[in-house]
């Protein structure tokens, strides 16, 4: 049996287990409830934005948004591109990406550690390569998060369509793109969560370590962002136009602007970096897991 076939079987089972477990169901419901509230908040933001620009024509409204984005990002092309996207969807994407690490941590902390704790892993250890088991667990977690992100996007898009901000076609297009952005970023978080989960027999230790690791990554991201904002204020430039610090690249969410933008080269670069990050963490996790006692 090839490693790919092994990974497929392990990942498929992990996905089924996640969506059926009490934890998966509770987290899914809570996430959807949170998403409903977020979608309503986003709609409210968009409604007040539109009310403020009532005097403007549709083109005038888009131009006002473009100017705003340009001031924030310092990127003409990106501003022109984003100005046509309903604000509610952009805000919703930001909220989704912001909460992704939390969702991944809560879903993934016990993905391997619980099997180590209960020694269930021993049923698998004589049937699949350790690397396949680890990778299957990672992909199963990633797929679960992707599934939840899909539900969130459908919800946000449905609200935007219901309010008449976008057509169904536009919602499908933007929704798919924003979902893919969330999925690509989630892969990196899922890799780190699975790696940490495979290092501990006690799920609670895995959970605390995952939170600590994610917090450190967030500090890299937020630290770099504020450093750029500070520099921008001093020099009168848009924060996003400044080069990111090296440590900011370690924060997976930092790539969301690159992924959303219209420049295929920047999108592919961001995808390549995040995919590389996920593969590197996955390879390290597989290696460590293959060497450890279970």
């Amino acid at each position: 049996m090839s490693p790919l076939a092994e990974i497929q079987l392990v990942a498929g089972r992990e996905l089924r287990r996640s969506v059926r477990s009490a934890k998966g169901i509770v987290l899914g419901v809570l996430t959807l409830l949170g998403a409903t509230v977020s979608a309503l908040v986003c709609v409210r933001i968009e409604a007040s934005e539109r009310a403020a620009a009532k005097a403007l024509s549709n083109e005038g409204f888009v131009e006002a948004k473009r100017q705003l984005f340009e001031r924030v990002t310092g990127d003409d092309a990106l501003a022109a591109y984003m100005a046509r996207v309903p604000t509610s969807l952009i805000v919703f994407l930001k909220i989704t990406v912001w909460f992704l690490p939390l969702l991944v941590a809560l879903l993934g902390f016990d993905t391997v550690s619980a099997d180590l704790q209960h020694r269930s892993v021993r049923f698998w250890a004589v049937r699949v390569r350790r690397g396949s088991y680890f990778t299957g667990k990672l992909l199963g977690l990633w797929a679960t998060v992707a599934l939840i992100a899909l539900a969130l996007n459908v919800l946000a898009d449905a609200v935007a369509v219901a309010r008449g901000y976008v057509t169904i076609g536009q919602a499908a297009g933007w929704g798919l793109k924003f979902w893919l952005v969330a999925v690509v970023i989630a892969g990196a978080w899922a890799g780190v969560a699975t790696l940490i989960s495979s290092c501990f027999r006690a799920p609670i230790l895995a959970l605390l370590t995952t939170f600590a690791a994610f917090f450190v990554l967030w500090l890299f991201g937020i630290g770099g962002f504020f450093a750029r904002v500070g520099e921008s204020v001093d020099h009168g430039m848009a924060a996003a136009a400044k080069e990111m610090s090296w440590y900011e690249y370690l924060y997976p969410n930092a790539y969301d602007t690159m992924l959303v933008g219209p420049d295929p080269a920047r999108v592919l670069t961001a995808v390549a970096i995040l995919a590389g990050f996920t593969v590197a963490v996955g390879a390290l996790g597989s290696l460590l897991f293959a060497r450890r006692d279970v």
Partner: protein, 322 residues
């Protein structure tokens, strides 16, 4: 050329920090036998077992199963199977899903996997549990399902770690019968501290104590069943030549007997014989004839000293549940 053993440990040591769980163990398990790993708690049985299964890597030495390193999962797939001790079944899976998944991971084609899973579940008398969640099974049921996954396909080497631990006597007996029914179809290694169970199931065994092998061989060799018999006599019996007394000297004069003695405290006659000259049954016949001729009242007869007594002697009376 001698056949390759089904499993082999060569000078294997396993340490956990400063603690040495298994110390320089060398062992070969012949193909086709049912082999017992015996010893008190903490003797290193489960650690040895876990190294054979590939769960643990030896600190020193070499472990081989079916001529391969246990880490060669792909080449051992479906040839090696394990019933791990204390491993919980995945609670959210149904029994059917779990067995089906295990069968698929053994590379049993999807169409045949269903049949294979149902067959082993039938074998452990669990046909009705197919749709039941593993988390809702009783301990005995879960143990049977775990045994079923170990029997999936036709593995050449089956490792069973404490297969009857924590089971009530009836279920334990049924488990023993299930394992006994597999004898001859595979090499079976059973780790247990239930000596009666091992004596019943195994052809050969190794006794471990404090991480070392203190004895190994066939069960007959370990229990001295082919060179010793024990006769229990009625209370009040003493040594002597009067009717009702044990004629120890006359027993020693029997041609096949090497030595004979009476433990007056335990009321037990021990007779050692030359295994090449006679088998235990004919020695029993001769000894009993003599004792009955002297009107000695006999309470019981046994070949050898019993595995339990032997292990107690070897492990210096540390008890099997220390």
């Amino acid at each position: 050329m001698a056949a390759e053993p089904a499993a082999r440990l060569q000078r294997v040591t396993k340490r956990f920090g400063a603690k040495t769980a298994v110390d320089d163990v060398t062992l070969a398990i012949d193909e086709g036998v049912t082999f017992g790993l015996i010893g008190p708690n903490g003797a290193g049985k489960t650690t040895t077992f876990s190294m054979l299964a590939g769960y643990l890597s030896p600190t020193e030495g070499r472990v081989e199963v079916l001529g391969l390193l246990p880490s060669a999962v792909d080449r051992l797939r479906a040839r090696l199977s394990v019933l791990p001790q204390d491993a919980l079944l995945p609670a959210t899976d149904t029994v059917g899903e779990f067995l089906l998944h295990m069968a698929r991971l053994q590379d049993i084609p999807a169409k045949k996997a269903l049949d294979a899973a149902r067959t082993v579940l039938d074998e452990v008398a669990g046909r009705d549990w197919w749709g039941q969640r593993c988390g809702s099974l009783s301990h005995g049921m879960a143990k049977r399902v775990a045994l079923a996954q170990a029997f999936l396909g036709e593995p050449e080497l089956v490792l069973l770690d404490e297969p009857t631990a924590g089971l009530d006597p009836r279920v334990a007996r049924e488990m023993r019968e299930l394992i006994a029914a597999r004898k001859g179809r595979a090499t079976i290694v059973v780790s247990s501290h239930n000596l009666q169970e091992l004596e019943e199931l195994c052809d050969a065994a190794a006794v471990l104590d404090r991480g070392r092998v203190v004895a190994s061989g066939s069960i007959a060799e370990l229990t001295a069943a082919n060179e010793e018999i024990r006769v229990q006599v009625a209370p009040g019996t003493t040594r002597g030549t009067q009717p009702g007394q044990v004629p120890v000297e006359k027993l020693r004069e029997l041609p096949v007997v090497k030595s004979a003695s009476l433990d007056e405290e335990r009321l037990e006659i021990t007779v050692y014989f030359e295994r090449r000259q006679a088998d235990a049954e004919s020695v029993i016949g001769q000894v009993l004839s003599l004792l009955l001729a002297h009107q000695v009242r006999i309470s019981g007869v046994a070949k050898g000293r019993g595995l339990e007594q032997r292990v107690m002697d070897l492990t210096a009376g540390q008890g099997l549940n220390r």
